[in-house]
C-alpha cells in the first residue's frame, strides 16, 4: 500500500475517529465525560496488556537480538532531552519549562506506541516482539537527563533521586515491566487463558481511551492559544525531527522496517503519564499548561494522524536501500 492510502486508512480507523469525536464533543460543549475510574481502568488495562503481549513474545527472543536496539534506546533517551532543551531555550522558554519539555519528549507516549503497533497491524507489517521492553527502557533516562539539565542550568531541579524513584515506581513502569515479566514467565500457555481480555479487546479499549483523550485534548486547546506560536512550532516540528532521528537510529540498530516505524514513533512521542507527575514534583516552577499542551494537544494528535504513517514511509525507504 502506498503512503497516502495508509494515511487515509489510518485517519478512518475507529481509534482516530474516536479521538476526533472526543474533541468535537468537548467543542460543542457536550456533557459527555468519562468517569475517572474508567480512565484509570483503561490505562491500567492498556499498560498491562502491552506488557503481557510483549513479554510472551520476548520469552522467545534471543538476547543477541535485543542488545543493539536496547542500547540505541538508551542513547536516544539521553540525547533527545538535550536536543529538546537546547531547542526550547533557543525559543526563549524559561529554564524550568525547557527542562520540563525535555523530560516529556525524552520519555515516551504509550498510546502513541500502541497506535503505531495498531497501524502496522492494519498495514500487515510485522515488527519485533520486544518493543514494549524498549518503551520501558525509554521511560526513564529522558526524565533524569532533563532534571539534571535544569540543575546544571541553575534552576534547582528538585530532588533528582525523588524524581527517579517516582518514575521507576510509577504505575506505568510497574505495569509495563510487570506485564513483561508475567508474560515471559507464563509464556504462550498462560497468555492463551487471558488472551480474550488482554488481546482480543485491545483495540476496542484503545478506541474508548482515545475518545477520552480527545475530550482531554479539547479541554486544553485554550492553553495552546495562550501559549502562542513558538509552542505550536515546537509541538509540531519536534516530532518530525525526532521521528526522523528515531527512524535512522532504529534501522542502524538493526530493527526491521516495522520495528523502525514503532521505534521512530516512540522517539517522536512525548509522555503524558509518567513525565507530568515526575516533573510536577521535581520542577514545580515549570508550567503544566506549557508541557501538557505541547505533548497532549500538539504532538500527540500529530503523531496519531500524520506522524505514524510518515515515520513508516521513512522507515520503509531506509530499509529499501
Amino acid at each position: 500500500m502506498d503512503t497516502l492510502e495508509l494515511i487515509r486508512q489510518n485517519l478512518l480507523s475507529p481509534m482516530v475517529l474516536a479521538y476526533a469525536l472526543g474533541i468535537v464533543a468537548m467543542l460543542v460543549r457536550s456533557d459527555l465525560r468519562f468517569p475517572d475510574a474508567l480512565y484509570q481502568t483503561l490505562s491500567i488495562y492498556l499498560l498491562l496488556a502491552i506488557g503481557l503481549k510483549g513479554g510472551a513474545a520476548l520469552a522467545a527472543t534471543p538476547f543477541a537480538d535485543l542488545w543493539a536496539p536496547a542500547l540505541a534506546t538508551l542513547l536516544l533517551g539521553c540525547l533527545v532531552p538535550v536536543l529538546v532543551f537546547a531547542a526550547a531555550r533557543g525559543l526563549r522558554f524559561e529554564i524550568a519549562n525547557a527542562a520540563a519539555l525535555a523530560a516529556h519528549y525524552g520519555s515516551v507516549s504509550v498510546v502513541t506506541f500502541i497506535a503505531a503497533q495498531a497501524f502496522l497491524q492494519g498495514a500487515h507489517v510485522e515488527h519485533e516482539a520486544f518493543m514494549p521492553t524498549l518503551v520501558a527502557i525509554l521511560e526513564v533516562p529522558g526524565i533524569v537527563v532533563a532534571l539534571t539539565l535544569a540543575r546544571l542550568a541553575g534552576r534547582d531541579g528538585g530532588s533528582l533521586g525523588g524524581a527517579i524513584r517516582e518514575v521507576l515506581t510509577g504505575k506505568s513502569i510497574v505495569l509495563l515491566i510487570g506485564g513483561v515479566l508475567i508474560g515471559a514467565a507464563s509464556g504462550h500457555h498462560g497468555m492463551e487463558s487471558v488472551a480474550p481480555l488482554f488481546v482480543d479487546l485491545f483495540k476496542g479499549a484503545l478506541t474508548l481511551f482515545l475518545l477520552e483523550m480527545g475530550l482531554l485534548t479539547a479541554q486544553r486547546l485554550g492553553d495552546v492559544r495562550r501559549a502562542g506560536v513558538r509552542l505550536v512550532g515546537l509541538g509540531l516540528v519536534a516530532p518530525v525531527v525526532l521521528g526522523a532521528l528515531g527512524a535512522v537510529v532504529g534501522s542502524l540498530a538493526g530493527l526491521s522496517a516495522g520495528g523502525t516505524t514503532v521505534f521512530a514513533a516512540m522517539v517522536a512521542s512525548a509522555s503524558y503519564i509518567a513525565a507530568p507527575a515526575a516533573v510536577r514534583i521535581a520542577l514545580p516552577q515549570a508550567s503544566p499548561s506549557v508541557y501538557l499542551s505541547a505533548s497532549l494537544v500538539l504532538t500527540f494528535p500529530f503523531n496519531l494522524t500524520l506522524g505514524i504513517p510518515l515515520y513508516h514511509a521513512l522507515s520503509t525507504a531506509l530499509h529499501r536501500r
Binding site: 475517572d36 482531554l216 479541554q219 492553553d223 495562550r226 503524558y272 507530568p276 507527575a277 510536577r280 514534583i281 514545580p284 516552577q285 508550567s287 503544566p288 499548561s289 501538557l292
Partner: protein
C-alpha cells in the same frame, strides 16, 4: 455532651501533593486526618491537578498550636509553586482529648 474546642484545618491541594501534605501534618503533630477527592478552580492558570487526578480536600482536627505549625509548614513548602488553599475554623469536638 461534653465537648472540647479545637481547630479544624482544611487544606485543598492538587493530588500530586498527597504524601507530602500528610507527612507535613504528621510532623506538625496531627493525630489523624480525613481526605476527600474534589475538583476546583482557582486564581492560577495552573491546572495540572485535573490531569493527575483532581484536588484533595484534607481536614484535620488539632490543637491551636499544631494548627499554627501546619499553616506555617504548608505555606512555606507549597504556596510558591503549587495550587493550595488553607483555612481554619473553631469546632467543638466530642471526645476531644483524643485529638489534642
Amino acid at each position: 455532651m461534653h465537648t472540647v474546642r479545637l481547630k479544624l484545618v482544611t487544606i485543598v491541594a492538587e493530588a500530586v501533593l498527597r504524601e507530602r501534605v500528610v507527612r507535613e501534618l504528621r510532623d506538625a503533630g496531627a493525630r489523624g486526618y480525613t481526605l476527600t477527592t474534589c475538583e476546583g478552580e482557582g486564581s492560577r492558570g495552573v491546572r495540572a491537578s485535573q490531569w493527575e487526578g483532581g484536588n484533595l480536600r484534607i481536614e484535620t482536627i488539632v490543637e491551636a498550636a499544631v494548627a499554627e505549625r501546619i499553616l506555617t509548614g504548608i505555606a512555606d513548602e507549597f504556596f510558591e509553586n503549587y495550587a493550595v488553599i488553607v483555612w481554619t475554623q473553631d469546632v467543638e469536638v466530642v471526645r476531644g482529648g483524643k485529638y489534642a
